[in-house]
Subunit: 193 residues, 4 copies
């Protein structure tokens, strides 16, 4: 089964998820700078989620570059990932409208955790199909970044009730460690060529 | 006429249908766990429809893998399928907002029935074009799964008025028999290679 | 300049236009059959516009099959077509919500007219680039269907003020003459192969 | 790393951005021509932004035609561009609803400025990767058009407070100098063939 339609569908869904978030940011009722200031938390949550979705798109893109084939089980793992990613716009407008308060920040972390779990699942299924000696397995190695992210999300969920700012900092920290594109995979691609 | 633009357009429409449903789930007014609990039926209906649309995308993907060409009549059968699929977000928010009550559950079943009829129609037209000896015909055989689904949807429409939960269970049952990707087709593809 | 990205972008825009119309059909406030009946005009307008957009997608698909190259001026003609098509969801919800009354029906016709004019413009530019002896020119010939459509739309705009039903019948009539995919072009494609 | 998925994703996001703006134009409450007249500023702002997004899509399309490869840093520059472009629908509905008043017009200019800066950044990174002797570098030369645009946007931001109409004229002027597709690049493509 070829991977190109899987990529096309994922690109479509990710493009829509990343873009519909802007529909939640309504133009202010009046035309003053003050009315724009009220939107600052909504904008900040948009920026954070835009970056996260950009990271997922970029990593998904990198991962599938190293992949030759897909099967039915991989289609469903990919849909499972897209499902959790599709909840990000919901959580984004919730944290933005409530100025990053505890419950929404905790739920935001839960959704990020599930996205990361789903991504790991998809990665494992792809490695399983391509073998321990595959380029993907070499590129991922022990997936240290992935493990740190899972740990951060899992901590941020309860820590939001200590202070939502701790969770916020953890989400920003994880974004920063990923924003550098996955050079492990990029190196493998270059080796392959 | 080549099939790639048909696939691209269908992927686009399916990606949008699957994603706009999340726009119907508005962030709660307040930031408590209780407010999230009120959204449970809406989330459950989202999960069910997401799975159904995932099944359609996956089966559509599998079916078109075995297909070599399309014609004008197939373009329109495909649009007829996309039309009925496009009504799923409407029915989804209706059943969610009214906690799976009788009339919405019955209409949800009617839309699923029409989707299944439209899919069968598209499948028949593809077989007609490719011949009785085609890979697709071998893969589908008697289409037992398809027949059971049609029967379940047709029963669920009136049974919603006995109890909407019977319909709900039927919808879940049909989803479960399809969630396993169509191994008949996957086998044909593997044989072909 | 190659045509594939033009096709991909047009597919994307058309897929979104055709799908966002469903966002305008809100789930009814209560869960009765009566509440569904109130949505009948909205549904009918959705069906009509879905068919029109399907026709445009199908004809656009057929036309670009016969085309080898595009240039900057064709990119802009295509965007001009997409602009007018993007106004269809607006006019669709207007005619649906006001039960096909005169002014909205007239404006709906104006938008359809501009779509047809834009399509003709794009067609002319493609023929100009590919020459009088091109497959496209042979397929289109005198474009009788196109001329009849332009005439019907132009008549429907003022006739809506005599009776909106005349306009409605004209829109349905034009859809019917197009719903048969453009066999002229299909014949040319078959000859080419 | 190949550029096709970057193009596909960008096409998807641009197609959605350009199309969701129409969701902001709600069908009027009543069915008179007067109600349509109230929408004129909203329509004008839609037309302007549609043209700007068309320009970005067209230039992006041209630029990537001359490009052979992409890397992680280019993926992120592209996402940075898409981020700023995604804010255009927000600013569009704001200027439309407030009849092009000073603050919204100034913010609209700021977003256009950031889009232009992000585009320049992406262009520079692509040139850097492909070398000073690349087709892209030859096509761009000193990027006079790009410099004039940056200057116009930067002037329009404060000038909106003198008169929003000056800013409006500057936005229209910049659109006009770009609406002619980038013949420099088109020439390079023709030379290459």
């Amino acid at each position: 089964m070829n991977k190109s339609r899987l990529e096309a569908f994922s690109d479509g869904v990710l493009a829509i998820i990343i873009t519909i978030m802007i529909l939640e940011i309504k133009a202010p009722e009046d035309d003053s700078f003050e009315s724009l200031q009220h939107l600052i938390p909504v904008f900040l949550s948009y920026v954070l989620s835009f970056i996260y979705l950009g990271i997922y798109w970029s990593n998904h893109h990198h991962m599938l570059q190293l992949v030759k084939k897909v099967n039915g089980s991989i289609l469903w793992s990919n849909l499972f990932l897209l499902f959790w990613l599709s909840l990000i716009p919901f959580a984004t407008s919730w944290i933005g409208e409530h100025h990053f308060s505890a419950v929404p920040m905790s739920i935001y972390g839960f959704i990020l955790l599930m996205c990361a779990v789903a991504y790991r699942l998809l990665q494992n299924k792809l490695i399983q199909l391509h073998g321990k000696e595959s380029l993907l397995q070499h590129a991922i190695k022990t997936d240290k970044k992935g493990n740190i992210s899972l740990l951060c999300y899992a901590s941020a969920i309860p820590l939001a009730f200590v202070s939502p700012w701790i969770s916020g900092l953890l989400y920003i920290a994880v974004a920063l460690i990923w924003i550098v594109p996955d050079t492990r995979i990029e190196n493998q691609i270059n080796k392959k060529l």
